[in-house]
């Protein structure tokens, strides 16, 4: 055995453990798809019932911040994927630096998002807190912003968890990378990329409609 206690007794090898972890992570992602899926069904149903209200509300979101945040997340995913490729004993500092970059980009995303929330609060676009909108579209707009806040809020929660996980990984790898950390890094990276994929769809659903008018 190359490392003592490198894998738990239910596995026969480190590779066996890695395969189990990878499958487990993908099953978890399938679960997450359905978690966001419930919101997406709600979004589509209400967009179907209130097409004009959704378009009007969507055009009030901040496309500049939304686009910038998309680019930020795509880049952070790139950094994480690079870190996975670069993982080895010789490149541990570099690998940890890449993760730190991804964490920095993730924090930048959250900061921008909070600016966006603040301006939406000031424009009375938060349902339940003195919501104000053009009376013709008020119903659809309120439903749109409900889904907007629940979905982006849930996404932001996932970002925070992801940032914490990447932080732990960066610290561990900076100290001593081992085969166990490679598995953990793979799983953490999958999670981060998945959060990125969620945002890609949220971006298309939240920011893009109603721009042509």
């Amino acid at each position: 055995m190359p490392e003592t206690r490198a894998f738990a007794p239910q596995f026969v090898s480190g590779r066996h453990r890695d395969e189990a972890a990878a499958l487990g992570m993908w099953v978890f992602i399938a679960t997450e798809v359905l978690l966001f899926g419930a919101l997406i069904l709600g979004y589509f149903v209400y967009r179907h019932l209130h097409p004009a209200g959704f378009a009007a509300a969507s055009s009030r979101t901040d496309l500049v911040i939304g686009t910038a945040n998309t680019a930020i997340l795509l880049t952070s995913s790139f950094a994480v994927a690079w870190a996975v490729e670069a993982f080895s004993a010789e490149t541990r500092k570099f690998c940890a630096t890449l993760l730190a970059c991804a964490i920095g980009l993730g924090i930048a995303f959250l900061v921008l998002k909070s600016f966006e929330y603040r301006s939406e609060y000031r424009e009375h676009l938060v349902p339940g807190i003195d919501f104000k909108f053009d009376p013709v579209h008020v119903d659809g707009a309120q439903l749109f912003f409900l889904f907007y806040f629940v979905a982006t809020g849930l996404h932001a929660l996932h970002m925070m968890i992801g940032i914490a996980v990447l932080g732990v990984m960066a610290l561990l790898i900076n100290r001593t990378p081992s085969a166990r950390h490679r598995t953990a890094l793979h799983s953490a990276a999958l999670y981060w990329h998945f959060v990125d994929v969620v945002w890609i769809f949220l971006f298309a659903l939240v920011y893009l409609p109603g721009r042509a008018a």
Binding site: A8, Q10, V27, T31, L35, A38, G42, I129, L143, L146
Partner: protein, 535 residues
Amino acid sequence: MTDANYLNAEYSLRSWFFTTDHKRIAILYFASLILFFFIGGAAATAIRIELATPQADLVSSDMYNRLFTMHGIIMVWFFLIPSIPNTLGNFIVPLMIGARDLAFPRLNLLSWYLFMLGGTVTLFTVLAGGIDTGWTFYTPFSTLYSNSYVAVAVTGVFISGFSSILTGLNFIVTIHRLRAPGLTWYRLPLFIWSLYATSIILVLATPVLAMTLVLIAVERLLGVGIFDPAIGGDPLLFQHLFWFYSHPAVYIMILPGMGVINELISCFSRKAVFGYKFVAWASLAIAAVGFLVWGHHMFVSGQSLLASLVFSFMSFVVAVPSAIKVFNWTATLHKGSIHFDAPMLYALAFIGLFTIGGLTGLFLACLAYDVHATDTYFVVAHFHYIMVGGMVTAYFGGLHYWWPKMTGRLYSEYWARTAAVLIFFGFNLTFFPQFVLGAEGMPRRYHVYPPEFQVWNVLSSGGATILAVAYLLPLFYLGYSLFFGARAPANPWNAPGLEWQTPSPPPEHNFDQQPIVTRPPYQYSPDFKAEPQNA
């Protein structure tokens, strides 16, 4: 003194509450589920006492609403859904597939803690004053009008959902990656197939429920109408999301039971299960098609006619794989060498009760009849035949079957058979009259009713008394066996499954040597001898 096993390895509380041994976690779940079963049962008892007379004598209508809601929530989420998967499944799956543990033992422990946290929050609801929405939390009542503790109850169920997801994930990865060498998919016991199908549902349906409950909480706490028609929302969206989880959840509650029945029927008729591949794939077919039928809960809710037709059709389709199973079990009995040990009595009771429950499900899948039967006792009787007559009976059967393995003790066969017979008669006396009541139009969820329904209600309450006694009996004779029962041999039923090739109770890591599997399951024959597996 017996050999070292998972029970006598350590005795400290720490060794139980921080264990990662799947067998000890199964025992933790088992103890917790007994508690929840009797809390849910107490609510049912109060309901049946109240319904013995047409007028209100025990509780107010408000209290009655809280009783049936707690009964539903506790029994569905804190007993039925975790029952077989988390106790028998946790214990038996690694043993059956020749593994030393589940793939993620710490996740397994986390799952139990989440379950207990969710359960505690839900029980806190009871202490705080209860919840009166029914277990379905239908909007807009749950979000706008109910002044009971909806948000707390919803939080409890939400947390327990994550426990379900972790268990499902763990089983899927375990069954894919930890099978012993030579244990191909078609050599797996059918219990494993059905738990695999169950896990798929747990993993893919539960997150939708979680999100739906979040939306209820948001609507209640912020006072904004996600499902409120007054501001453009649609309560039917809630029903769609809720039943997308909760109908497949019915299969979460029955598939593991079907899995147990395969093991019992083949063991006690000393024959391989007839049509193994059909039964195996029927489990997966139920899991998949079970996701396409949820709208049959909404035939009278105002969903579109086309949607009702599609959901009605799919509901008939999903009955096919269930029927395949029933036919195959019956065919397994044919020319078998049948032994009427207690687990077999439960298995035979299951087949009868599940068949009645399943066939009346077809009545309800039929659009025209469902309009008449919606929200009547016909529906109540139907799903109790599936969930109590089916799942709980299978749970008791499996519990008796694997009890010697889990505890290393033998129970009293006389009392076990008595309880099985009492459960069968008590159950039918409780719930068969409810079919009649429902067909005659008695609506569910009322604590007063016209006097002409009283005869059937008294029969039902009388049956419930027998049933309550029958459910209490195992507590005594199984509890007695723990301390005074004869020591169980490794393989008391002379069964070929891998789980019987280890000592009873099994050692900490299940197998001293990696077992190697060379043959399909259920190799019973008159002169059967357990083949040594530690090749």
